[in-house]
């Protein structure tokens, strides 16, 4: 301890204190403060950049998810449209078929009506011709075979009774 005290030099202590405190204050102003500020600034900027990148990635993911969703929606829309079109086409085809059938039926019915009318007319024609022919034939037969008035009349009425128009 005594040796320590003997070794102690006040001059060196004073110089050391002066120089060290001066160095401390100078470095504080010109070095440590700017250095620590710059480092802090750099660190916060790195942190911010990282969080910004993270955010950008999240945004990107959200956009991609959106795209996927939209694509999916479009696909389902398309499917729905297709299905609708299909049913519509089937419906139209069926409708057309029905219409065609109805038309055909109508035409058939009309044709049958016409045929029936024609047939009736033909039958009537035939009837009238047959009648006139029959009358002619009968007249000729009667002219030759029936001279007797009474027999003639009897015969005619019998004939008339026999004739049944169908």
């Amino acid at each position: 301890m005594e040796k320590l005290l003997e070794e102690f030099s006040l001059g060196l202590f004073v110089w050391q204190t002066l120089l060290f405190v001066a160095l401390l204050l100078l470095l504080k102003k010109f070095a440590w403060k700017p250095i620590l500020d710059a480092v802090n600034e750099r660190e916060t900027s790195i942190k911010e950049s990282l969080s910004a990148a993270e955010k950008a990635r999240d945004d990107m993911e959200a956009v991609q998810a959106d795209n996927k969703r939209i694509l999916k929606e479009a696909r389902s829309d398309r499917d729905a449209l297709l299905a609708e079109a299909k049913t519509a086409s089937i419906k139209i085809v069926n409708q057309a078929k029905e219409d065609a059938k109805a038309e055909a039926d109508k035409i058939t019915a009309q044709a049958q009506e016409t045929i029936r009318n024609e047939k009736k007319a033909a039958i009537n024609e035939l009837k009238s011709q047959v009648a006139s022919l029959s009358v002619d034939i009968a007249a000729k037969v009667l002219q030759t075979e029936l001279k007797d008035q009474a027999a003639q009349e009897k015969f005619v009425s019998e004939l008339v009774k026999e004739i049944e128009v169908k």
Partner: protein, 375 residues
């Protein structure tokens, strides 16, 4: 521990070899032995002289053919206050060999201190061997002060350039700053923040950084062949420890003082605390002073011891003067030098670390008390 063991075993080996050499020397005559003893004494004096501060910056010295010491050195200014400021060159002392005459007053160096004497340079010692002459106030620019000034300039320009490089280089260090920036960050992230806390570490950062680099650089300067021993000087370590002491106690929070004068807090009734506090409070108060005192002694003793070991080993080379002993001492000195490079950094780290720890105590907040109550 391993290093210590290794150091021990190497020492044993050295001792053994000394024995061998000594046995060989025994055969030589007594005159030669006394010459060897003279050499040992000279080396011891040289080491002691080196450990102390000096009034001139000597690079090396040799003995010429005429048998006188020739020094290769720079004289440094002597500044003393003795009824007025007196400034003169240290060359006037001729290494303490002569008396310096300034303005009709005579001064002489005794035990590395300047005393006022008469023209003959008489120093009158008391019964303990201390000089009783008047010692004028001495503010000389000694070798230590020159080294501190050099470190001052080195640190200022080094870290100023680092700070400027951030501005010039867009927030990224360039040049030599690239090496020092991680160290600055280490001190902030692994010394200051864990010990003091995120919130309060800022106001102590300047001191921690300055003291770390100051001690480190001066320790490293001490390993150069210039023979500087500043951090192994009690006045320098006292100054550094004193600043730690003042910063700790001037920035101490209410909790810090409460911890010293009321360490048990509300865990006990006041009348139960009185007998305990008769012992506890003096211990705590003593602790305020012991903490920085341990800082100053640790740094001083470590650097001093390192220099003694290193120089002794170098001195051994000249004592051995043999093919076996001298290379071995050289190898040992080399190994110790490498360890000293590590110690230089380690002591700077320990000083900074413990200062940060004490600042941490001083800036503690309430959560510490909650912990105590939880026990």
């Amino acid at each position: 521990m391993l290093i210590l063991l290794k150091r021990k075993s190497l020492f044993l080996l050295a001792l053994l070899l000394t024995g061998v050499v000594y046995a060989k020397d025994k055969q030589e005559n007594a005159e030669n032995l006394s010459a060897k003893e003279n050499q040992k004494k000279e080396i011891k004096e040289y080491i002691m002289h080196h450990l102390q501060d000096s009034y001139d910056f000597s690079l090396f010295s040799y003995t010429n053919d005429a048998g006188e010491h020739v020094y290769f050195e720079f004289p440094l200014p002597i500044i003393i206050w003795d009824n007025g400021l007196k400034v003169f060159s240290s060359s006037k002392f001729h290494h303490g060999d002569t008396v310096a005459e300034v303005d009709g007053n005579y001064y002489a160096i005794s035990h590395n201190k300047i005393y006022k004497t008469d023209a003959a340079g008489t120093i009158t010692p008391d019964e303990d061997g201390h000089a009783t002459n008047i010692a004028p106030l001495d503010f000389s620019i000694t070798k230590g002060v020159v080294s501190i000034m050099f470190t001052f300039l080195l640190m200022f320009f080094l870290f100023k350039s680092l700070a400027d490089s951030y501005v010039k280089n867009g927030g990224i260090a360039s040049g030599v700053g690239r090496f020092f920036e991680p160290i600055v960050l280490y001190i902030r992230d692994d010394i200051a923040i864990p010990n003091i806390g995120e919130k309060k570490h800022r106001k102590y950062m300047s001191f921690l950084l300055t003291v770390f680099f100051f001690v480190w650089f001066l320790n490293m300067l001490g390993l150069t062949p210039l023979g500087i021993n500043v951090t192994g000087n009690i006045a320098v370590t006292l100054c550094l420890a004193l600043i730690t002491f003042l910063l700790t106690n001037l920035t101490g929070t209410k909790d810090y003082w409460l911890h010293i004068f009321d360490p048990l807090g509300s865990t006990m009734k006041w009348y139960a605390k009185i007998p305990l506090y008769i012992i506890l409070i003096p211990i705590e108060v003593l602790g305020i002073f012991i903490k920085p005192f341990s800082l100053l002694i640790r740094l001083y003793a470590n650097m001093q011891a390192g220099h003694i070991v290193l120089m002794s080993l170098i001195g051994l080379m000249f004592i051995f003067k043999s093919w076996l002993g001298s290379p071995l001492s050289f190898g040992l000195a080399f190994a110790i030098s490498l360890i000293e490079v590590l110690v230089a950094l380690l002591q700077a780290y320990i000083f900074t670390m413990l200062s940060a720890l004490y600042f941490g105590f001083a800036s503690e907040e309430h959560e510490h008390h909650d912990k105590i109550e939880a026990h």
